[in-house]
């Protein structure tokens, strides 16, 4: 395979948590939101990131593009080290990645017209773009995402959720980036609209050669769009594998539980979903060894002592478990 456009190694994001009423000299506690994640993203590929709420999906994505400072690790994007670069260089790299957000309406400034919103990245990075050219680009993008170009002067509150998400996609595409990070782009939409938006993303990806990082907690959506899937649990990667492989043959006990819980539209299904006991442990005080051991049906003494690392062929099926199936 070709060179990865994004190579993340051992990325860690820690937040300092001060208990309320703390004295200035009390040590703050470390919340390990992302605790050593590696992954690679290849051109034209879609990496799905799944996991339950609070497992660090969004934090991981934001740390990759330096919206949240990373505590440790390296992020190499297009062959350049993102975490170590200066402000000006970062601004230059920003042209080639964009982000799509969860709440379509909240991600659009209510006081700006659609045209202004879509043109903003363009005018931020190329302030000298002639007005006519910017207008043309905005219209082109609107057509691409299936909006009528004569709506440029409308305001976000005049659109539906699905249309707003299309506007968000148009804004992300206007600079013709190579990488788009989708942070739960369809979670706030109706199912029928979800399908439209996901298919739109797939079409645009094929047309423009985009790489996508697709964060979601809906496994069936991720299965539909992803080439590879990474399962996160408490800031750690539990399993990484090609999409078809992970759904057909999950090896990590957590992935198995997740996949068995996907609703199947069949009233006669007999297989009961495998329910996990307990809640996600606090990332302030993660379990020793394997972070999943407290809820794992196969946990043994060894799991509490040694932390399992992701093992398996790179670009193949990797799993972080001492006793995988």
């Amino acid at each position: 395979m070709s060179e990865p456009i994004l190579d993340v190694k051992n990325l860690k994001v820690h937040f300092d948590i001060r208990p309320s009423g703390a004295m200035p000299w009390t040590k703050s506690r470390k919340l390990k939101a992302v605790d050593g994640v590696d992954f690679k993203l290849f051109p034209g590929e879609t990496l799905g990131i799944v996991g339950e709420s609070g497992c660090g999906k969004s934090t991981l994505a934001r740390a990759v593009i330096r919206m949240i400072p990373a505590a440790d690790g390296t992020v190499v994007m297009f062959g350049r080290d993102v975490l170590g670069m200066g402000k000006r260089e970062l601004q230059d790299v920003r042209k080639s990645f964009q982000m799509i957000f969860q709440d379509p309406l909240a991600s659009l400034n209510p006081r700006m017209t659609i045209g202004e919103i879509i043109a903003e990245p363009l005018l931020t990075h190329f302030p000298k773009t002639p007005k006519a050219e910017a207008q043309a680009r905005v219209r082109e993008m609107m057509e691409k995402v299936g909006l009528l170009p004569n709506l440029v002067n409308r305001y976000p509150h005049e659109f539906s959720g699905g249309q707003c998400q299309r506007i968000g996609i148009a804004r992300a595409l206007v600079l013709r980036p190579k990488l788009i990070i989708c942070d739960e782009p369809v979670s706030a939409l109706d199912v029928s609209i979800q399908a439209q938006v996901v298919n739109l993303l797939k079409d645009l990806q094929a047309e423009m050669g985009l790489s996508l990082i697709f964060i979601a907690h809906d496994l069936s959506v991720v299965k539909h769009i992803s080439d590879r899937v990474m399962v996160l649990y408490l800031g750690r990667a539990a399993e990484v594998a090609p999409a078809a492989e992970i759904y057909a043959n999950p090896r990590h006990p957590y992935t198995q539980a997740l996949i068995s819980a996907v609703p199947i539209p069949d009233p006669h299904r007999t297989q009961e979903p495998e329910l996990l006991a307990g809640d996600l442990p606090s990332p302030l005080d993660p379990p020793s060894g394997c972070v999943f051991r407290t809820r794992c049906r196969k946990a043994q003494a060894h799991c509490a002592e040694v932390r399992p690392e992701l093992e398996g062929p790179e670009e193949g099926h990797q799993v972080a478990c001492h006793y995988p199936d």
Partner: protein
Amino acid sequence: MVIDQTKMADLADNLAQMDEVKGRSLWQDARQRFFHNKAAVGGLICLTLVVLFAIIGPYFAVWSNEEIDWAIIGNAATMGAPSIANGHYFGVDDLGRDLYSRVIQGTQISLMVGIVGASISVVVGTLYGATAGYFGGRLDGAMMRTVDILMSIPYMFVLILLLVIFGRSISLLFIGIGLISWLDMSRIVRGQTLTIKNKEFVEAALATGVSSFTIIRRHIIPNLLGVVAVYATLLVPLMILTESFISFLGLGVQEPNTSWGALISEGAGTMQYGTIWQLGFPLFFFVVTLFSFFFIGDGLRDALDPKDR
């Protein structure tokens, strides 16, 4: 049902050539709601009339605001009542000066104090509060503690002392009112900024690489202008009241200039001699203006409140 082929073709044609649709911004929505509010529109009309009176009024005046009518002086109670014949439309004051001209002049000063005070508060308070709220952290702490300290100073006391020490002057009054008026505004704006800066559209702008200053100017300030506008309209009467209070104490404007507060003070002092017009006319304008501002503020709040939608 039969579909008329030509009509459908026409429709398709029309759709294809449809011009750019003009969107209705939130401001336009708000304006429409504002003009449906009868009290607010009434307030706006009254206020416009008062402002017109202050601007156009002088052209109809026969007497200036400092001229003493020697024919009337001393007999204000008997001969100084409002009359069209001798040109004293609102009567004369205790010294025989034309009250019509003096009310106009007082209106100009009082409105000026209100508008200048509110403008300072809008400009300084918005920028200060938005900066503190957006950057947060230590800067926010330092900026807002400064505001707390300034707020804890009993400003009326300081203002009166200043006026006593440096002499009564209208510019000092402007400075004094301007210095204190932005404190509340900066607090309100900071609070609003804290909620707006966590919205996803700010995050989107950050991810794109928009600079902090541009984010404040393009994304934060337009979204808090609604609150600012409402608060500013309620601030104008507050400024007028402050000025009137100080003038009522005899510390505000200097003779021969006057203001509503000074006129009301003088009128109140002579009302027992039967010259009720000396109190009535300035008080009328004062009350009408304050009510107008309050109704406009109310109307603006209803119009801009997103929960109403």
